[in-house]
């Protein structure tokens, strides 16, 4: 494995499975029922140049549960970025301060750029509309937890497929495990052509449609996403598609029993609160799984073996 995680291409399928196994082993540590200070003495830099709740907090939780510590960039408006400091200079400084860094940035390609500037491992926590591979690890963990496997599932990805970096990384990974992908979006938010082309070349079976409700009965996973207002060039374009998909408990009546509904969160109106109580809802467990997935990843990147079985 590379010493950074920028896109899912940095991991082989075997490495993904190994990380998911490590994550599973770390569940009691994340739940606080076992103390396992594997990363004691290690310092994580949380470099979030864009708002984040779950990703930033779960990185911090993961490091602290494993006995390490965290320094945060803090509010980007009070950092040197507003004084015009380049990402290169900021990351060179962090390279000296810390042992590993998680980076989120509004510009696409920022994570690879930072990785080229630093010796410490860089974890991409989201770069513009590019990639979000640590989210993909926790998504895969959640899917495997529910279905007992990754291979051969039918996964519907719904909503903002154009700007949604979580679905970009996830679709690449799912294709590698021979999943069938159903891309559901309005035309103006469809999956970028280069991603569809790459997936097609890798032999993935893909369907593109605007119809969410017709896809529900056959799906093993419905992965909802928020229409991201902040990525639209203007308000009018956003207004045309805002609220286009709304999943309710009644819509799930014809779904397979083991089908799960996922969402990277935050949600706005795309999943009705009445879905929360259904057996299909997995988005809160999914958010929790961010802790174990990131624990496993940091151990791997820092060269620390996770003991299997009882520690």
């Amino acid at each position: 494995m590379d010493s950074d995680l920028i896109t899912m291409d940095d991991l082989t399928n075997e490495e993904i499975i190994s990380l998911l196994d490590d994550a599973e082993r770390l569940l009691p540590v994340a739940e606080g029922t076992e103390y396992l200070p594997l990363l004691q003495g290690k310092l994580l830099a949380n470099m979030f140049f864009e708002p984040s709740t779950r990703t930033r907090m779960s990185f911090e939780t993961a490091m602290k549960r494993l006995g390490g510590d965290v320094v945060n960039l803090g509010d980007v408006n009070s950092s040197s970025a507003v004084k015009g400091e380049t990402l290169y200079d900021t990351m060179r400084m962090v390279d000296g301060y810390c042992d590993i860094a998680a980076l989120r940035h509004p510009r696409q390609g920022a994570a690879q750029y930072a990785a080229d500037a630093c010796d410490i491992p860089i974890m991409n926590g989201g770069d513009g509309a590019g990639h979000h591979p640590t989210q993909t690890l926790l998504d895969l963990f959640t899917i495997r937890q529910a279905h007992g496997r990754l291979e051969g599932l039918k996964v519907a990805l719904v909503g903002d497929l154009r700007y949604g970096r979580t679905v970009h990384s996830l679709s690449h990974a799912l294709a590698r495990f021979d999943c069938e992908l159903v891309f559901i979006s309005p035309a103006q938010l469809s999956m970028p052509a280069e991603i569809v082309s790459d997936l097609g070349h890798s032999g993935a079976k893909i369907t593109e449609t605007e119809d969410l409700y017709g896809a529900i009965p056959d799906a093993d996973v419905i992965y909802m996403t928020r229409i991201q207002k902040e990525r639209f060039p203007d308000e009018d374009e956003y207004a045309k598609v805002a609220g286009i998909y709304k999943l309710t408990a009644a819509d799930l009546a014809g779904a397979k029993g083991e089908m799960i509904v996922m969402h990277p969160l935050p949600r706005v109106t795309e999943i009705s609160p009445d879905v929360d109580a259904s057996r299909h809802a997995r988005y809160f467990e999914q958010a929790f799984n961010g802790v174990v997935a990131r624990m496993a990843l940091m151990c791997k990147l820092l060269g620390v073996d996770v003991p299997r079985g009882d520690a």
Partner: protein, 157 residues
Amino acid sequence: MSAGEMRRVTAINNGTVIDHIPAGSALVVLQMLGISDDRASPISLVMNVPSSKHGRKDIIKVEDRELTQDELDRLALIAPKASVAIIRSYAVAEKREVTIGTELVNVASCTFSNCITINPREPQDHRLNVVKTDPLELRCRYCGRPQVMSELIGNLI
């Protein structure tokens, strides 16, 4: 180059001849190579001449300058099939190939408006990965976006 084509341009004593440039691209090639019209020695430029291989082509002759392999490799972006001859004392002393390799470093900057490299103060190299050579397909090393060739010409460094 046939004898007929040769008559269009004067033979040079020393320098570089770049042949088989796609028709209409010679001015961009000069821009890419950083060859401007304020130099002391002449530059001969012939555009849109008939070519048995490519239908139409451009030719450039740069006197008193031997282009380096690094300079020539930049040509691959717009003239991947160009043939290059180094001339010494009116004779072809060397023939050089244009090769593109796997990456273009500091030849052009990414055309995507939200790429991290769009900030001119970011100091690291501009890197474009060569995904395919025929037809040429490039993607930014950082943001991964495919590059549209017509836009990339405007981003030459």
